[in-house]
Amino acid sequence: MSDAERPPDEVRSEVSVHKGQAPEREGVTRASRSKEPAAGLGPGQFTAQMREWRDAFERRLPPWWSRALGAVLIVFAILLPFFFTQTSGFLNATIISLAYVVMALGLNIVVGFAGLLDLGYVAFYALGAYSVGWFGSGFFFNEHIHVGASHIQNTLPGIHLNFLLIVVCAVVIAALAGIIIGLPTLRLRSDYIAIVTLAFGEIVRVFAINGQSIHLGGGQTLTAGNLGIPAVDLPYFPVIGSFNLLKLRPWYWLILALMLVVLFVNLRLRDSRLGRAWVALREDEVAAVSMGIPAVRTKLLAYAIGATFGGVSGAFLGAYFTTVNAGQFAFSFSIFVLAMIIVGGLGSIWGAVLGALLLSYTNYYLIPDVFNDIPSKIGLNFNLTQLSFGIFGFLLVLVMVLRPQGLFPERRRRLELTGDIAAEDAQLVESQTAV
C-alpha cells in the first residue's frame, strides 16, 4: 500500500474526507454478498481491491476538491428554502430534522466518541426547551425582566431574554445537568451507565410533568406540566425583526447556522487532544488512564459538551413549537436520537448527520406526508399513520441487519471490523519511529 509511505495525518484526512462524500461501495457489496453480514469480515481480497480502486480515484482528484464540495453543499443548503413555499411541509420537516442533527451530534460525543451509553438524552432536550419556557415567555408572571427583547415583548410581564441569551442559558443549564448526570456513572460499566442515565431522563420527565405542583412562591410553579407553557416568545433579532410561524425560511436559516456551528465544533473536537482522549478511554480505559488521561475530567467533559448541544437544540425546538409541554419529553425520544447515531455509524460525525436526517425525514415527512396516500391509491381503506411506528421499527431492523456497522462507520471502527486495525497500528508505530 502506498499509504504506508505517507505520514498518518495525511492518511487520516484523506479517509475522513472520503467518508463525507461517497458511500463506501465495498461495504454495501460485502453485506449483500456474504451470507453472514454479522461477521463483517468479507472476502479480504475483494475489499482490498475495492479499496485500492477507491484510493486511486481519490488521488486523481485535485487537493481542493473536498473544500469545494463542502462550499457547494453549504451554498445549496442556504438556497434550499427558495425552492419551497414559506409554509411547506417539507420545509417544516427540514427544520425539525436539522434540530435533530444538532441533537445527534451532541449524543454522538457521549456515546460515539466517549463510549458512554446515554439513554437519558431527552433530559437535555427538556432543559433546553424549559430555558425558553422560563426565560422567554410570560410564565414567571411576577417578574419583569427584559433583555434584548422586541418592543411587544417589552410590554409583557415575565422574563423575556433575547433568543441568543436564552441559548446561552440553555447551554449553561444543560452542561451543569450533564455533569450532575455524569457524576454517579463514573465508576460504572457501559450498561449500568445506560440505566442510570435512563433513570435521570425519567426523573427529569416526572419533574416536568409534576412541576405544576411544585410552587415557587407568588402563585408561580416550576413547569406547566402537560398543559404546557403556551406562547413562548418567537426569536427576535434587532435588524431582522421578529420571527413568525407563517414564514419558515428564517427559522430554517437559524437552525442551519446553529447546525453548522455545532458541526464545526464537532469536527474540531474530534481531532483535538480531548477528542483523542475520549476515543482512548472508550477503547481501553485502563490503558488510557495509565497513559495519563484524567478519566474523571474527560468523561465529565463528554457529558457536559454532549448535553450542551442537546440544550441548544431543545431551546430551538421549544421556540419553534411555541410551547413547552411535558408530554414531549418521553423516553422514546432518547431512543430515537440514539437510533440516529447508530444507524449512521457510531462515532462518525457524518454518520450522525446522515442518520439524523434519514430517520427524522422518515418520521416527520415520508411516513405522514408522502407514503400516507399509498393505501388509498391502491384501493385499501386504512390510514397509514396507524402503522407509523411499525414501519419505523421495521426500517430500523432492516437497516441494522443489512449494515450492522452503520451507514458511515467511523474510520477506526471500520478498520476493526475489516480486521485491518493491527496492520494500521503497526503502520502508525512505524511512521512515528521514523520521525
Binding site: G40, S190, D191, E202, L338, A339, Q386, G390, M400, Q405
Partner: protein, 360 residues
C-alpha cells in the same frame, strides 16, 4: 496528623459501603411505619368522620401488594437478565413480548369460553391451558425475534442489536395498537381478584396477591433448577461465561441462545396472563412501561443474576406501592429511579452482584 484525619472518613466510607444500601432501602418503610404509628392515617369514613388508625396495617397492606406486584416484575426481569447474561444485550423488545402475552391470554379467554361466571374447576383448567399457550406463544415469538433481529448481528458493533431490539419493540407495539386500540381495555375479572382470601392481623390478602405469588414462585424454582441442574442449563451458563470456549467444548451456542430466549419469552408470557388477571385491563403501552421497570429491577439485583432479578423486582414493587399510596402515583417513577441511582452509586454491581462475562 493527616492519617488520623483520614481514618475516620475511611471508616465512614466503609460503613456506608456495607450498610448504606440497606439503610436506604429500609428508610422508606420504616419512616412511613413510624409516621403511621405517631400521626395515624385515615382508613375511611364512618358517619362523616374520618377514622384515624394508629397501627401498621396500611404499611403491611402496601408491602403485600408490593410483593405480589413485584413478583410480576420479577418474572419479566428474569427474562431480561437471562438474555443479558448470555449475549449482553438489553432486549428492549422483551417488555412488548410480555404485552403480547397479555393480549394472547385475553384473546384465549373468549376462545375457551372463560367468563366471570365459569365454575371453579373449569376456570382453573382453562386458565392453566391459557397460561401454557401464552407461555408457548411468547417463547416462540422471542425465539423468532432472536433469529431475525439479533442472530444476524452477532459480532457486529455492540449497540447494533440494541437498535434492532428497539425496532422490534416498535413493531410489537404497533401490533398491539392495531389489535386492541390506543387506550386501556378492560378484561373480565375472572378470578374476582379483589376478594379477600385471608387476613393476617388486619392485613387483607386478595386473590390477586395469592395468584401472582402462586404463579411466580414455582416458575422461579423451576428456572433456577433448570439453570443449575440440567445439562441444557449448564450449557447456558457456559455460553454466558465464554461462548468461544463453550463452542470448543461441543456446545451448540446458537441453539443454547435460542433456548435462553425461549425461557425468557415463556416467563414473559406467564407474567402477561398474571398481569391481565391482576390489573383487569390491558393496553399496548403496558409492555413498554413494565419493560422499563423490569429492566430496572434486573439491574438493581445485579444483571445476569436470576435471584437478583427476583429480589430487584420485589423491592421495586414495594417501593412503588409505598410511593403510590403515600406520595401519589405521579411521583412513583421518580422515586423508583432515584432508588436505582442510589443502588448504583452505593453498590455498582447491583444488590447480589452481576454474573456476566466482564464481571469474571
Amino acid at each position: 496528623m493527616p492519617a488520623a484525619a483520614v481514618r475516620p472518613l475511611a471508616a465512614v466510607r466503609k460503613w456506608i459501603g456495607r450498610w448504606g444500601l440497606i439503610v436506604a432501602l429500609l428508610a422508606l418503610p420504616v419512616y412511613y411505619g413510624i409516621r403511621d404509628l405517631t400521626h395515624g392515617y385515615s382508613s375511611g369514613f364512618v358517619n362523616g368522620h374520618a377514622v384515624i388508625n394508629h397501627d401498621l396495617t396500611q404499611l403491611g397492606f402496601n408491602l403485600v401488594s408490593g410483593v405480589s406486584n413485584g413478583s410480576i416484575w420479577a418474572l419479566i426481569a428474569m427474562g431480561y437478565t437471562l438474555v443479558y447474561g448470555i449475549i449482553e444485550l438489553i432486549n428492549f423488545a422483551h417488555g412488548d413480548v410480555f404485552m403480547i402475552g397479555s393480549f394472547v391470554a385475553v384473546g384465549l379467554y373468549a376462545s375457551f369460553g372463560l367468563t366471570a361466571t365459569t365454575g371453579a374447576f373449569g376456570l382453573v383448567g382453562g386458565l392453566l391451558l391459557t397460561l401454557i399457550v401464552a407461555m408457548f406463544v411468547c417463547g416462540s415469538l422471542n425465539v423468532l425475534i432472536e433469529r431475525v433481529a439479533y442472530r444476524p448481528l452477532r459480532g457486529a458493533p455492540k449497540l447494533a442489536p440494541l437498535i434492532t431490539a428497539v425496532g422490534f419493540s416498535f413493531i410489537l407495539q404497533n401490533v398491539g395498537l392495531l389489535w386492541k386500540g390506543g387506550s386501556p381495555v378492560g378484561v373480565p375479572d375472572l378470578i374476582n381478584q379483589n376478594k379477600t382470601v385471608f387476613k393476617i392481623s388486619g392485613v387483607i390478602i386478595h386473590r390477586a396477591d395469592v395468584l401472582a405469588i402462586a404463579v411466580t414462585v414455582p416458575l422461579v424454582f423451576a428456572l433456577t433448577w433448570f439453570i443449575g441442574r440440567t445439562r441444557a442449563g449448564r450449557a447456558m451458563r457456559a455460553t454466558a461465561q465464554d461462548p468461544e470456549a463453550a463452542r470448543l467444548m461441543g456446545i451448540n451456542v446458537n441453539s443454547t441462545i435460542s433456548l435462553t430466549f425461549m425461557l425468557g419469552g415463556m416467563l414473559a408470557g406467564a407474567a402477561g396472563i398474571v398481569y391481565a388477571l391482576y390489573e383487569t385491563n390491558v393496553w399496548y403501552f403496558q409492555g413498554f412501561e413494565a419493560g422499563l421497570i423490569a429492566f430496572t429491577a434486573a439491574v438493581m439485583g445485579g444483571i445476569g443474576n436470576v435471584r437478583g432479578a427476583v429480589l430487584g423486582g420485589i423491592i421495586i414493587g414495594c417501593i412503588q406501592q409505598l410511593s403510590d399510596s403515600r406520595l401519589g402515583p405521579q411521583w412513583t417513577p421518580a422515586v423508583v429511579f432515584g432508588y436505582l441511582i442510589l443502588v448504583m452509586v452505593l453498590r455498582p454491581r447491583g444488590l447480589l452482584g452481576e454474573e456476566t462475562r466482564e464481571a469474571g
